[in-house]
């Protein structure tokens, strides 16, 4: 009897185990489902990861890229983008068709990108400007990417705030002093600060220091790092910060606090501002950044389309060509607020917020005092650490109230270390020295 029992027990036990193993192995054998919409070519980008932007861009891909079916795959984190592309190229198993990201994200990937010189003729024919194409060489002799779209940063103003504008000031041509005075007066009138600043973990505030504050005050960034003008600039920042909503350390996209009415005036990337005036464009204006002693420093962001080494270049070329066409470029502006890199006439029927942004960018770039600053060029993987220096100085001077002069002197060594490792020539607005040095 016990023999029988024993046999049946163990058999059942083994059966159970066997079933479990069977289930596990079937599962393992199952292929997963695609999450990038399939397609013959994968368009891989750090841009347009947010839900709505993604849907709108996918629509552009189906409407404007006729020859091939494109699957869109977005990873907002530049580091993840970087890791994916590198590991695929290293393993020689490339499933990325087009790698599209902003210049600073593509810069560290130079060795992993195919040369796209043969696409330059088409790009020129589409009307992409020469200086942008030069930027796409990333300091080498070969074309590494074809420019895709561009953007800049402006100031978004809720019209309620105009009543505290200093008398005699032109909102489209404010000086830094007037801008500060405006923040102070608005703070007094409201009993709380109503200016905001994108100083959250994913905020782009380091670009304000790199492209706006320091160029406007000092005429440079790195080469004038420890100058008296730079001290003046950081002192201005300290004063300005006292009149910013302290919750700014959590703001990543200024359109949200603006739309909520938590702040009335804020500087940010246009793509991070356009949602604020969406419902009532008539209540808002967008204006150029303020003007300093050395000019109106402003930053231009350029995104490019590249082909990873070992990828299917012929297919990728079709996509790149289709997206360079003026019609596709204008549609991208209409949908996602990134500006064309080709000479295209902007249509008159742009949506309200985009129109506001377009006008502000136009005024900013054509101002007689305009001073173009680029995001760091050629720093590659060090770009993040370079930006961190600016964030650290901001934290110590503005949040912890440290003395600006002492702080920038202290961080000059950090900056020096980063640049010494990179050995790159300076970029605008710093004078083009052979090797960039902290001044």
């Amino acid at each position: 009897m016990s023999q029988v029992l024993n046999a049946s027990f163990s058999r059942r036990g083994l059966l159970g185990l066997g079933a479990g193993l069977a289930v596990a192995s079937t599962l393992a054998g199952c292929a997963g489902a695609s999450t990038s919409g399939g397609g013959d070519v994968t368009f891989f980008s750090t841009q347009f990861a947010p839900v709505e932007e993604k849907q709108r861009f996918e629509k552009i891909l189906t409407e404007y890229v006729k020859d091939v079916k494109v699957g869109f795959n977005a990873l907002p984190s530049a580091a993840d983008f970087n890791t994916q592309l590198k590991s695929q190229v290293d393993a020689k198993k490339v499933s990325i068709g087009v790698a599209a990201a902003i210049h600073g994200d593509l810069a560290p990937l130079g060795d992993y990108l195919d040369n796209v010189d043969d696409l330059v003729a088409d790009a020129k024919a589409a009307g992409i400007t020469d200086d942008l194409l030069t930027l796409g060489k990333m300091g080498t002799a070969q074309q590494k990417y074809i420019p895709w779209m561009q953007a800049s940063y402006v100031v978004c103003v809720n019209k309620k705030a105009l009543e505290w504008l200093p008398s005699g000031a032109d909102v489209n041509a404010l000086t830094y002093d007037q801008f500060l005075q405006w923040a102070v007066d608005a703070n007094k009138a409201n009993g709380k600060p109503v200016f905001g600043f994108p100083a959250g973990p994913k905020g782009l505030y380091h670009r304000f220091f790199q492209g706006y504050l320091l160029p406007s005050f000092t005429g440079g960034v790195v080469s004038r790092w420890t100058s008296d003008d730079a001290v003046k600039g950081w002192t201005w920042m300290q004063e300005f910060w006292k009149n910013c909503n302290p919750a700014s350390t959590n703001y990543e996209f200024m359109q949200e606090p603006l739309a909520r009415g938590e702040v009335l005036v804020a500087w940010d990337h246009v793509a991070r501002l356009v949602a604020a005036p969406k419902d009532k464009p008539e209540d808002w204006i967008m204006v150029p950044a303020p003007i300093g002693d050395k000019g109106l420093g402003y930053m231009l962001i350029v995104a490019g389309m590249a082909v990873p080494k070992g990828g299917d270049k012929a297919q990728a070329a079709k996509v790149i060509k289709a997206l360079s066409a003026p019609a596709a470029q204008v549609e991208l502006l209409r949908q996602n607020a990134f500006f064309p890199v080709v000479k295209a006439d902007l249509p008159t029927d742009l949506p309200g917020p985009i129109k506001l942004a377009a006008e502000a960018i136009e005024k900013q770039a054509t101002s007689p005092k305009a001073l173009l600053a680029l995001p760091p060029v050629g720093l590659g993987a060090k770009d993040g650490e370079f930006g961190q220096v600016f964030k650290d100085v901001f934290r110590e001077t503005c949040l912890q109230g440290a003395d600006p002069k002492a702080t920038i002197t202290k961080y000059a060594t950090n900056l020096e270390t980063i640049l010494a490792g990179a050995k790159v020539p300076c970029w605008a607005p710093d004078p083009a020295a052979d090797v960039c040095k902290v001044g």
């Binding site: 984190s77 530049a78 580091a79 959250g200 302290p246 919750a247 350390t249 959590n250 909520r260 993987a381």
Partner: protein
């Protein structure tokens, strides 16, 4: 590693076996772990000590880490958070488990509600609590509805309320983990002990201390080790609530890895976290060693 006294259930085997059956039982897990993690571990540990990608030996990464202005605040916050949160969570989870054990009406529903935060990813949890504590969030809305002044809970100028918010959010997010382990441990405790103690006139607290707690020890030990190790790994909630003004070690690891794309310094941070976690785990294993090894009846 003393040969323990536990009456191991080993069959009187028919043929002499050289290896303990335990070895065969744990072998698959060891193989899996080694296959998957041996090489990545090696790469990760090496990265902390070399220059860039496979350069020469250097301690520069450690210097960078220690000199980073956020490093010491991150160490302080991590320790502070763990020291405050773990005891609170265990107290809270024990109270919850004992309430359930009293079998109130609707205990099944209560248990379900209390386990819910388990299902919430830390990113989502950070978001929920942000919507509560932010300047125009639900908490300030309630205050305004009551005619009070709103308060900037998460401002960097109010580190105390920042810490309070992070603590509360973590308490909400991770207590369920302890609760579920404790409840599953309580399931296994035979009731007759408790009944016997009651017959001998022990009151509720005596029974709790003398009977239930000792029997729960294995579960508590497991919960404590897991919870602490996982506590070293969480940063999403603190980051969502406070941005970068309440840095934690793991958050810094990710910042160095992704935003600053410096895997070397990130590895150094990772090793610090690992070292601290392991030391804590060893202390727990030693301090809570279960002498009885088994429930003897």
């Amino acid at each position: 590693m003393v040969e323990a006294t536990g009456p191991a259930v080993v069959a009187p085997s028919r043929r002499p076996r050289r290896l303990s059956p335990a070895f065969w039982l744990i072998l698959p897990s060891i193989i899996l772990m080694l296959l998957l993690f041996a090489y990545p571990m090696f790469v990760g540990i090496r990265a902390a000590f070399v220059e860039g990608d496979g350069g020469g030996f250097t301690m520069a990464n450690w210097a960078r880490m220690v000199n980073d202005p956020q490093f010491w605040p991150a160490v302080r916050n991590t320790v502070l958070l763990i020291v405050v949160i773990i005891p609170l969570q265990f107290l809270f989870a024990m109270i919850m488990a004992l309430l359930l054990q009293a079998k109130p009406r609707g205990s099944a529903v209560y248990f379900y509600l209390w386990a819910i935060p388990l299902a919430v990813s830390d990113l989502a949890a950070g978001l929920v609590w942000l919507s509560i504590f932010s300047d125009q969030g639900y908490l300030n809305s309630v205050l305004v509805d009551l005619g009070l002044q709103p308060f900037a809970w998460l401002s960097y100028q109010n580190p105390q309320t920042q810490f309070l918010a992070v603590t509360l959010a973590e308490l909400w997010r991770a207590t369920s983990l302890v609760l579920v382990i404790v409840v599953s441990g309580m399931q296994g405790i035979p009731k007759d002990y408790d009944e016997a103690a009651a017959v001998f006139g022990a009151n509720y607290w005596q029974r709790l201390w003398q009977v239930t707690m000792p029997l729960l020890r294995p579960s508590l030990q497991v919960a404590l080790i897991l919870r602490t190790i996982l506590a070293f790994q969480t940063f999403a909630v603190a980051q969502a609530l406070t941005g970068e003004s309440f840095p934690l070690l793991v958050g810094e690891t990710y910042r160095w890895y992704s935003a600053l794309s410096n895997p070397n310094v990130a590895s150094a941070y990772a090793l610090v976290i690992m070292a601290v976690s392991m030391v804590t785990a060893v202390i727990y294993l030693r301090a809570l060693r279960d002498e009885s090894r088994q429930v003897k009846r």
